[in-house]
């Protein structure tokens, strides 16, 4: 029987065996496979594999088991999945402990989303939360941790629709909406009286049942923060943009009942969408949502009282002005001495008085509109450009960046919302969205990596800029903003969407629009080079180097002919160098060896000139080191070992200077590791083994440092182990068997350790680990040429 036939037979037998009671299977199998021991063994192996609960894994137990759906939790049997989100999942469950039955919703939160502080706070507050018994608040019954350490909460199950959905679906009248809102206020006031703040009041956190009863969910439960978030950042991240009070964005400040009042104002605004003429209700919303917490209603009841007053007074609105008039008259008659007591009186007068104050505030707000607009502009710009750049320079600030991105978005939307804004402001809003898109998705600096969001933001930017460009095609600012957008979209199309055709079209359009301005300034010249390079790269992406080449050449011709003032701009030089490097790559791929060599020499010269013009800039140094490194790699692949050595030596020297400049820059250490690794190999190619060994030591040291900084994560240790194995190989080829074994044994020890802790992939375990063990076994006891002369 062939192997395949045997396997087929075993599979068929296994399926039959499933019908045989487990304790009779062995006997049944004996009988079925009599005289066929191989078939028996294979079938038995399948039976045993079927029973194995865990497949050998790659060290991701914690992450995976958190995703697992438990069949029950405590006294609750999970029956269905209600929803899954970034925070975790919500399940429908039944209490079936026998004493009583109840349908509940259980939210299981992914571990690591709550910082330790938040978990501690949650646990402290659970008792209080559990005692919040109110008809308009979904009860919190229980909470705890699953076996795998995920926090969970058991809540009253509410079968209802989110507030705004309910309003739309039932076509609720204004009176019904106000009644629901009043119930919401009552629930929040009740919670506040028990010193519980909701923290995240949004229309989505209010469910309305089929009977028209509002239920607040997620009371006091902060939204997730990522682990490692600082307290301030954590507080700010728990907010929903648009509903969170502005003081929360700055972090630090304790969350107070005033923040809930702000959110209630926003919810009311969404629910009623008052028309511009409805000044009273707009004034009420404005007061609830005042930027300054002190200027808001002091309590939910005060907000509600004002609303009630508004409702009751609608038919007699005309009188309010008269009453105000009377009050002002009274004040005028009795002079300034009365001012203090009058203020107190107005507050005590409740609805009417507060409405008057709010009206006055609304008028003043209109006067302040322009000022606020300018402030918004300034904030958006500083968030997107200065603050973000500042934060980007610090490692591990992804959370902070995410928060910045989200906050900036709300400001940008405010800017973009006004179609009558002057052109320059709309250009700014368009570029703001573009920048935000780089922040969340594209961009070299970004770690957020949310490509879909980034694309959506680019589309938003285009929605602003494209009509603007159509209306003002001759406006240089508009045209150039459009070029910036098109270049970004072209990059996104190519590198994110893998759509080379779209990238080509976009870059070509950028080039066309830029044509009249291409010599306007250094930025224009740089973008013109970039537009040509992007078109070339669109071809290169699909290995169409023959078509890429002329475009690279066109860019180089343009750059070479630039007037001195533009050509000597460092960013233009850098763009030219980057184009030359890609042009060299195109030649190399087209096997035009000599052209590749010359072009890469020029790329190197260009990047060197950049570092000379602007010394000590790490980004420029890195470009230079990379150009040298790439040239060395190409030389090495053409077996020009001496030339490879010269180029990589320079690359290593630049990388070392980067590290000396800032020993804390992990990017510099990584550059050292990259360059020295090729250097060690080039030296070994030249049979200069003792030098190769010394450089190899530096490679290892760099990896050790990177692993140490990364907190000895599995990934970094794996890199170190891989570098040790390569290092050992270079020594082995130089017949330095003791050295080879020292490196290999250390590398192997790391692999074994990773394997023991389960942090190894199946592939690493079966291939890399096996090979490493094999090296050590065959060549290291004692160290000898156990693997042939060269490996």
């Amino acid at each position: 029987m062939s192997d395949a036939a045997l396997e087929r037979e075993a599979l068929a037998l296994f399926e039959q065996a499933l019908d045989v009671p487990p304790d009779e299977r062995a006997a049944w199998l004996d009988q079925k496979t009599e005289g066929q021991p191989l078939l028996r063994a294979r079938t038995a192996a399948l039976v045993s594999a079927d029973g194995s609960q865990k497949v050998r894994t790659a060290g991701a137990f914690a992450a995976i088991e958190a995703e697992a759906v438990p069949s029950r939790l405590g006294a609750y049997r999970i029956t269905d999945l209600i929803g899954r989100g970034g925070m975790g999942a919500v399940y429908l469950a039944e209490r079936d402990a026998g004493d009583f039955s109840r349908t509940v919703a259980i939210k299981i939160i992914k571990p690591g989303l709550f910082s330790d502080d938040l978990v501690a706070r949650f646990q402290r507050e659970r008792q209080t939360l559990a005692s919040l018994t109110h008809p308009n608040i979904a009860r919190l019954y229980d909470g705890g941790e699953t076996e795998t350490g995920s926090p969970y909460i058991v809540m009253e199950y509410v079968d209802g629709a989110p507030l705004l959905e309910w309003a739309e679906q039932t076509k609720a009248t204004r009176a019904e909406r106000l009644r629901i809102f009043s119930d919401i206020c009552e629930a929040v006031a009740f919670a506040h009286s028990r010193l519980v703040v909701h923290r995240d009041l949004t229309p989505a956190n209010v469910l309305v049942t089929g009977e028209g009863v509002a239920k607040l969910i997620d009371f006091g439960i902060a939204r997730p923060t990522s682990d490692g978030a600082q307290d301030g950042a954590a507080a700010a991240l728990t907010m929903t943009p648009g509903y969170a009070a502005p003081e929360r964005a700055t972090g630090g400040a304790a969350v107070t009942t005033s923040a809930d009042i702000f959110s209630l104002g926003r919810v009311l605004d969404d629910l009623l969408t008052p028309k511009p003429g409805e000044r009273e209700v707009r004034a009420i919303i404005a007061r609830a949502c005042a930027d300054d917490p002190q200027a808001r209603y002091p309590s939910v009841d005060a907000l509600r009282a004002d609303l009630d007053a508004w409702r009751a007074r609608q038919p007699v609105k005309a009188y309010s002005a008269k009453a105000g008039y009377r009050l002002r008259k009274f004040a005028a008659r009795h002079g300034g001495a009365l001012a203090a007591s009058l203020a107190a009186f107005v507050l005590l007068a409740g609805g009417l008085g507060a409405t008057l104050i709010a009206n006055a505030r609304a008028e003043r707000a209109r006067d302040l509109a322009e000022e606020r607009f300018q402030q918004t502009r300034a904030i958006a710009n500083s968030m997107l450009f200065e603050v973000f750049d500042e934060v980007s320079l610090t490692a591990g600030t992804t959370n902070a960046r995410e928060m910045l991105a989200r906050t900036s978005l709300t400001y940008l939307e405010a800017l973009a919302a006004d179609p009558n804004a002057p052109i320059d402001v709309r250009v700014e809003a368009g570029l703001g969205f573009l920048r935000l898109s780089q922040v969340v998705g594209g961009g070299q600096a970004s770690e957020l990596g949310r490509y879909e969001d980034a694309n959506a933001l680019l589309a938003q930017s285009r929605e602003i800029l494209e009509p603007l460009f159509e209306a003002h095609p001759g406006d240089e600012n508009v045209a150039r903003a459009m070029v910036t957008l098109l270049l970004e979209q072209s990059g996104a199309a190519l590198y994110t969407d893998n759509n080379a055709d779209a990238a080509l079209t976009l870059a070509a359009r950028a080039q066309t629009i830029l044509e009249p301005y291409r010599l306007a300034d250094a930025r224009a010249a740089r973008q013109y080079i970039a537009a040509l390079q992007a078109q070339a790269d669109s071809f290169g992406w699909n290995d169409r180097y023959a078509e890429a080449l002329p475009l690279h050449q066109q860019a180089e011709t343009f750059a070479a002919a630039l007037p001195q003032a533009l050509g000597s701009d460092v960013d233009v030089m850098r763009a030219r160098g980057s184009n030359l490097r890609l042009m060299g790559e195109a030649y190399h791929r087209l096997e035009m060896v000599e052209e590749a060599r010359l072009t890469l020499d020029r790329a190197v010269a260009q990047q060197r000139a950049v570092t000379e013009a602007a010394p000590n800039n790490p980004a420029y140094m890195r470009n230079y080191a990379i150009a040298l490194w790439y040239r060395a790699v190409v030389h090495r692949s053409n077996e020009r070992n001496e030339a490879a050595r010269a180029s990589i030596e320079e690359s290593v020297a630049v990388a070392r200077r980067m590290r000396e400049r800032d020993p804390n820059d992990a990017g510099a250490i990584r550059m050292v590791a990259i360059a020295t690794e090729v250097y060690a190999q080039v030296l070994a190619d030249l049979d200069r083994f003792s030098e190769s060994y010394a450089v190899g030591q530096e490679v290892i040291a760099a990896h050790r440092e990177l692993a140490r900084r990364a907190g000895d994560t599995a990934g970094a240790r794996r890199s170190l182990a891989a570098a040790l194995m390569t290092h050992g190989g270079n020594s082995y080829n130089g017949a330095a068997y003791a050295r080879a074994c020292a490196a290999w044994e250390e590398g192997l020890a790391i692999y074994e350790d990773l394997n023991r802790s389960g942090a190894m992939s199946e592939r690493d375990r079966t291939v890399t680990l096996t090979q490493s063990r094999d090296f050590v076994r065959r060549a290291c006891a004692p160290p000898r040429a156990g693997l042939g002369s060269r490996i």
């Binding site: 395949a4 396997e7 087929r8 075993a10 599979l11 296994f14 399926e15 499933l18 192996a45 399948l46 039976v47 045993s48 594999a49 079927d50 194995s52 609960q53 865990k54 497949v55 050998r56 894994t57 790659a58 060290g59 991701a60 137990f61 992450a63 995976i64 088991e65 995703e67 697992a68 759906v69 438990p70 770690e447 990596g449 490509y451 879909e452 994110t496 969407d497 893998n498 759509n499 994560t713 599995a714 990934g715 970094a716 794996r718 890199s719 891989a722 942090a759 190894m760 992939s761 199946e762 592939r763 690493d764 079966t766």
Partner: protein, 168 residues
């Protein structure tokens, strides 16, 4: 097995890039290891291509079933691309559909599945449908015109075979 309508197949070809984009998006990142569920990929891609909820259940199942093979190919291509681009590309892990524990290396699974194809193409296809399209046993039974109990049995056999192959 039901006949594939040419229209749907064209649709798949036309949206090959969309699948690729989704796969690449998921494989992006600089982690020590990546944890992915190919099922989610197939659904994400399908949802982008057209509103899955708006087509009837049968067509939906059929579409996903067809996309299983393409999704697997694209995902593995992208993984190889990732490996080629990064010397230290992280391992990519996944888990058995419908099971909450254990993780397995996607590339190892793919290699084992390729072997299973030589032995038993029908069961290998079943694995593709579950792993890469996220179909349930019932849906597979429906699309293949067999009974759920048969599919369940075949799935257990295929799973056991793959486990024994992976532990070899």
């Amino acid at each position: 097995m039901t006949v594939e309508s040419p229209g749907q197949k064209d649709l798949l070809v036309a949206h090959y890039d969309e699948f690729r984009r989704v796969a690449r998006g998921v494989l992006n990142g600089d982690a020590a290891k990546l944890q992915i569920q190919p099922t989610d990929l197939a659904h994400a891609a399908a949802i982008k291509i057209f509103d899955l909820n708006r087509i009837d259940i049968r067509s939906r199942t059929h579409f996903l079933s067809l996309s299983a093979r393409i999704m697997r190919q694209i995902l593995m291509d992208e993984l190889r691309r990732l490996r080629a681009a990064k010397r230290q590309a992280p391992p990519v892990l996944t888990q058995w559909p419908g099971e909450g524990e254990g993780a397995l290396d996607l590339e190892d699974l793919d290699a084992a599945l390729t072997k299973l194809e030589q032995i038993d193409p029908e069961r290998a296809r079943l694995v593709e449908q579950r792993f890469f399209a996220g179909l349930t046993v019932e849906e597979i039974a429906d699309v293949e015109g067999s009974s759920p109990s048969t599919v369940k049995r075949q799935w257990r056999a295929a799973r056991a075979w793959l486990i024994s192959e992976l532990e070899r």
